[in-house]
């Protein structure tokens, strides 16, 4: 077999950017995105100053998280070990961008599909070296076969001289650095100073640990090197995904509360248990779908999730869970309409697990995001589940304005339990001991760029508790429920952004 990889020889690299431009020429890469780029990192004080170059790109991981998460198989493993992609299959979901711990993938603004270094596999097929290899003035980029034990790359890989980026992600990269300063490979070891880069502007997309993040988790040796050149990498998921987390939590939560009411014997209450809740859940599921599809860069291809679905991707599994849950809601609704409330206890059996799945599958999806260590925490699944309770409780308190709830106290208690549990789980996460990456993400969440969103969540939580707990009446309780829902959105948005704030390159 063949397993192609690159040796990137930082000892010979002169930082000339020829590889960047040759790649742009070969693949017609638009402005603003890059398949390969050169990072400059500076260390030391005058006259012992030094500048280190490292070429950054896809690592063609043997255990590639982008392939695992890709819902349509657009990212695939070629026979020669290369991680390649097929534009025609890509729906532009951007999950791969979060799965990649190397900032290697971008959405091409002209095609709306995910692109990255594909080893110039079209050239390999023609028997030609990749374009970055042939252009390099100093032969600092070299192709090798890791399955050939005599090759330079295999020997380097076997020695302690060959470094890889982010080995802790255990992706088994096939890009091996020779002569590199470890600080130029570790995205947390250097930062962009406030006066920017050596000869390019700095945007919000340029990866760097912020001062807040560095204060929360200073480098072990106390010295942060300076990033003086790198390229921007956008944070793929924003408000739409946060909203999707909330809408499906509402859908799941409403049905969970309805299930509780069924268990409490209110299965025949059409308005509040058997008809309205599945309608609300259905509406929020539709909203969830709309949000999901609208966030695709190729929305017209959303059906590929089902027609070309990859079994490894939790995006696909999640779609099945959502579909299953939607079917339960529909059945529930029909049962309600046909006044067959008696079947609801039976329907609970599939509905409750699927509601929990709807709320919680995202934890498994996020666990596939190797680039977002914050999201991979063990706390995410319980948080999502209690958030569903919050969402369900919150939604029901709002519904109480329009219909008469049979067990207002139970609903309120559910909501208060959810709020408290969510708060407790977040506190446990925040005060816990974590890797530098997660510590930085949490610092961004609580006191960095996301602090106002995070603060909004805290305030909204408190307001919800104060308005709901004393049982002040329908309206204050409904306002409290709404506050809980809005707070939830603020939290999800902050959490998503904080998770993506930690530099990967």
């Amino acid at each position: 077999m063949t397993r192609l990889g690159f040796v990137l020889d930082s000892g010979s690299c002169i930082g000339c950017h020829a590889c960047t431009v040759a790649c742009k020429a070969e693949h017609d890469v638009p402005l603003g995105v890059n398949r390969t780029w050169v990072k400059y990192v500076e260390t030391g004080t005058f006259p012992e100053t030094d500048r280190h170059f490292s070429v950054m790109r896809c690592n063609h991981c043997d255990d590639a998280p982008c392939i695992t998460i890709c819902p349509t198989g657009a990212l695939f493993r070629a026979d020669n070990g290369v991680v390649d992609f097929d534009d025609a299959d890509c729906i532009g979901c951007k999950a791969c961008m979060n799965a990649c711990p190397y900032d290697a993938i971008y959405i091409n603004p002209q095609t709306g599909t995910a692109h990255k270094c594909n080893f110039c596999n079209h050239r390999i097929a023609d028997g030609l070296q990749p374009s970055c290899v042939i252009v390099c003035p100093t032969n600092a980029i070299r192709v090798g076969d890791l399955d050939d034990p005599d090759s330079e790359i295999a020997r380097l890989h076997a020695s302690d001289q060959g470094l890889v980026r982010s080995p802790e992600q255990q992706t088994r990269p096939k890009v091996i650095y020779a002569g590199a300063d470890p600080r130029s490979l570790d995205p947390l070891a250097s930062a962009i100073a406030s006066d920017g880069l050596i000869w390019a502007e700095t945007t919000a997309d340029h990866p760097t640990p912020t001062p807040v993040a560095l204060e929360a988790s200073p480098p072990p040796d106390g010295d942060t090197a300076r990033t003086t050149y790198t390229t921007g990498h956008s944070h793929p998921w924003g408000g739409a995904v946060a909203a999707y987390l909330v809408t499906k939590a509402v859908a799941a939560g409403v049905m969970l509360v309805a299930s509780l009411l069924v268990i409490l014997g209110h299965g025949d209450n059409q308005s509040t248990v058997s008809v309205l809740p599945p309608m609300v859940a259905g509406a929020f599921l539709v909203l969830t779908g709309v949000l999901l599809v609208s966030d695709l860069k190729q929305p017209g291809r959303f059906h590929y999730l089902l027609t070309r679905g990859s079994r490894t991707s939790w995006l696909v599994k999640g779609a099945y869970v959502l579909a299953g849950f939607a079917s339960c809601c529909a059945a529930w609704w029909i049962a309600g309409l046909t006044d067959a409330g008696g079947v609801l206890p039976v329907l609970l059996v599939p509905t409750v697990p699927l509601a929990l799945g709807t709320a919680g599958y995202t934890a498994f999806l996020f666990a596939q995001c190797e680039g977002r260590d914050l999201w991979q925490g063990r706390m995410l699944l319980p948080v999502l589940l209690v958030q569903a309770v919050v969402a369900g409780g919150g939604a029901y308190t709002v519904l109480d304005l329009f219909v008469h709830l049979p067990e207002v106290k139970v609903v309120h208690l559910s909501l208060l339990f959810g709020l408290a549990a969510n708060f407790a789980l977040v506190v446990i996460e925040v005060v816990g001991r974590h890797t530098r990456h997660v510590t930085m993400a949490i610092a961004e969440l609580t006191r960095g760029t996301q602090r106002s969103r995070f603060g909004a969540w805290v305030v909204a939580n408190l307001a919800a508790c104060l308005l709901v707990a004393p049982n002040l009446g329908e309206v204050p309780s409904a306002v409290g429920g709404l506050a809980a829902l809005l707070g939830l959105f603020a939290y999800e948005d902050a959490y998503l952004r904080a998770g993506q704030s930690v530099p990967l390159s």
């Binding site: 010979s12 002169i14 930082g15 000339c16 950017h17 020829a18 960047t20 431009v21 040759a22 742009k24 020429a25 070969e26 693949h27 017609d28 638009p30 402005l31 603003g32 500076e42 030391g44 004080t45 005058f46 100053t49 030094d50 500048r51 280190h52 170059f53 070629a78 390649d84 534009d87 603004p109 002209q110 594909n118 596999n121 079209h122 050239r123 390999i124 097929a125 023609d126 028997g127 030609l128 070296q129 374009s131 042939i134 252009v135 390099c136 003035p137 100093t138 032969n139 192709v143 100073a193 406030s194 006066d195 920017g196 880069l197 050596i198 000869w199 390019a200 502007e201 945007t203 003086t228």
Partner: protein, 934 residues
Amino acid sequence: MLDHYPPEEAWDDHAALDPTAWPRRVERRFRLVPTTCFNCEANCGLLAWVDKNTGQVAKFEGNPVHPASRGRNCAKGPATLNQVDDPERILHPLKRVGKRGEGLWERIGWDQVLDEVGGRIGTALREDRGHEVMYHVGRPGDDSYMERVLHAWGIDGHNSHTNVCSSGARVGYATWMGFDRPSADFANAKVIFLISSHLEAGHYFNPHAQRIMEGQRGGATVICVDPRLSNTASQADHWLAPWPGTEAFMLLAMARLLLEAGTWDREFVRQWVNWETFLAETRPDLEPTFDNLERALLDHYADYTPGEAARICGLDEQVIRDVTAAVGNGLGGLASHTWRASSAGNLGGWQVARCLQFLVVLTGSVGTEGGTSANGWNKFIPVTPLAPAPQGHWNDLTWPIEYPLSHHEMSILLPHFLKSGRGRIDTYFTRVYNPVWTNPDGFTWLEVLRDPELVGCHVALTPTWNESAWFADYVLPMGLSSERHDLASYETHAGRWVGFRQPVLRRHGELEGHHFERTYEANPGEVWEEEEFWIDLSWRIDPDGSLGIRQKFESQKKPGTPLTIDEYYAMLFEGSVPGLPEAAAADGLTPLEYMRRKGAFALPGNQYRPYDRPVPDGQLVGTECGEDGVFRSPGTAGLYKDLTEIDGHMPFIGDGSPAVEVNGQARVGFPTPSKKLELYSETTRDWGWPEYALPTFIRSQVHWEDLDFAAGERILVPTFRIPTLIHTRSGNSKWLNEISHRHPLWIHPTDADELGIAESGLVRITTRIGWFVISAWRTEGIRPGVVAASHHMGRWRLDEKTGRSWGAGQAVIDRTADGQWRIRREDTQAPYESADDDTSLIWWSDAGVHQNLAFPVQPDPVSGMHCWLQRVTVGPAADTDVYGDVVVDTEASHAVFEEWLSAARPGPGPGGLRRPLWFARPVKPLATAYRYPN
């Protein structure tokens, strides 16, 4: 096994898979046409991939058969595609219709251009005003074609960019060895000593970088001298950052340490250095024996102790000793280079090159494998076919009597000379030259270019808009690297080659069976190439042949018709490139077809130590051997009584003496008057500068001990290059500008704190003639006391919609109440809609600061080199200052010009000459033109 390039035999029809269709296997067919890059001066090989379906170039890769670049390129090679596809490039000849600089143009045809411009020049020549025609070129990209044109026109009309570039280093090298440039054999070196940034900058970036890293991987120690941490310095084994302007002192201290330690090549120096002259001139008290040389040198350089060098240069003494020890370990293998850098920065910068070469000489590394050769041994300029006789005129605007040793034209002084009434220009061509932007004191250029009394007609030959073209009467689009013919050779390594640039779409079209009369028929729009332009223009200058010009551009095969490019290069390749006809015949090709197919040719033969080769007796017939062992030929610059005896073309360098006796045998030697390496330069002595006859430290205009640091004075380095850009030529590459578009002021944190400059705050830099506003960038990568900003950025345009693709912000130029010029940004870089989708994706806004406007001319009185380093006052910007502001008083700049002019020591020199006959000079005139009129 993967190949780097498709095999040569497939270049005419290569099938490749479409990368955008992949993983579907969609085949596209290409023709691979070799040409050469026209971004920096290295002229690396390119292969244009012409898509047979679209007939357009799809991409540029390297040319694997190019001996210098070996198939590899820097970022600027593949970026050529952007320049070709630039949506705002100039595609048709334009003629001014409003006032000069007003920006109103009409499209005209080439025929009209030729008639009008040719008519003007013809009239000037007939009225004996040939000296009013000037061709001013930046990077020529060609070796000898234009010399032929100017000789044919019989005018001394050549002007160059060299004294903003390399005049300093050239004089330093020429006074040692005649040849004005080094050619370091980096790949085989033991020690690589760079006072330059050759891993990122020119002369010759990519070919040199390949070989420097090859040398380092092979065990060579790399030493880099630079006040800032260049990429080169960062990869060097030793980075030395002496005070700018003290490099020569450091080098002389190193020379002294080598002498002290006995780590120098005595035998080489004994044979090949004019040490007898040194002893005779400086130590008449000593016996003129070689054994006394070491003592005399140690005495002469007694003050250059490592301790004093450490103090003057601001270096650690031990570092100086360590680096010298490394140099001493590399006897015979010291590959060194300085180009621009301090030799272009300081008053006396030429002595930096001279002192560096001193180390090369002492270590016996001249022309050795792994050592430092002369450019002339590794650069091959073919003899021009049908070469006309040289002109009998001398142009005092370019070669003024004040600067008899200036290595090239005093181009930066041209506007001041015009303003001073020394002459006027009737027809002024600028080509690959943007003086308003590139030269110091651009507002004075602007004043002169706007004045039709001083410049009658300005013809800008340029593929894209630039600041100077805006002030032209004709803007004539000339081809980019893949749209023109040129022939060039450079001393990139130990070996000789010629590289052939060709218009690839014309070549492709011809192979597809089309016929083109002129290259512009195949190029985009009506973009022409200069070589055909000059032929056709010469016909219009002299339509009836009465001036004797037309005949020199007439076909030999078809008399009465213009010479064609094919005919010209067929003659050249058949008769002027040794080994090429044989190599072509072996492939069954004509030499021209061979070059069209391969794009380059490596001349056979080893060029190490050519000076040591014996000269056969037959070549000495008729010569006279002097007491100094030099064989001189009568009727040459080496041996004459009257200038009229020297007929026709003089050698480009040297006095034409064929040999010198060394070790009892006539040998080739060096093209200096002594035919040896000149430790003591009698030429320097005889032409007004006896105190600089030896390698010497000259205290510069930015010497740190003269600065008032407390008052905010600092040294500004405004010239450094970065690897992705090249002067103003690379402006219209989106990929290059995306990578690099800002040039903040490098400042050490201690300086920033002391001067009260906030992090990323605005800085006002005040020079002697004005000031500019730039942003600060704190870095440990610069010597405290020195600030620096790369020169590439700061492009501007005066029109809202013209030239947006060249990295330029829209600006307004006006005059302040007190008559000072001011330029201020109106707009930054911004996305815009065009035929190229990428222009809407521009994500950066910075367009930089045009620093050069605020620099006065500072010509070195010996070399004529503009001394780029500025003594400036650095401080926080005023509240009213806007980033990018430049304000200049051109009266003050004229006063500075007069001050520096007064430091020159005017000729004529010995024999009443304007300049030493043996010195190199572009478009060398007849010997009689050297006589200065009484």
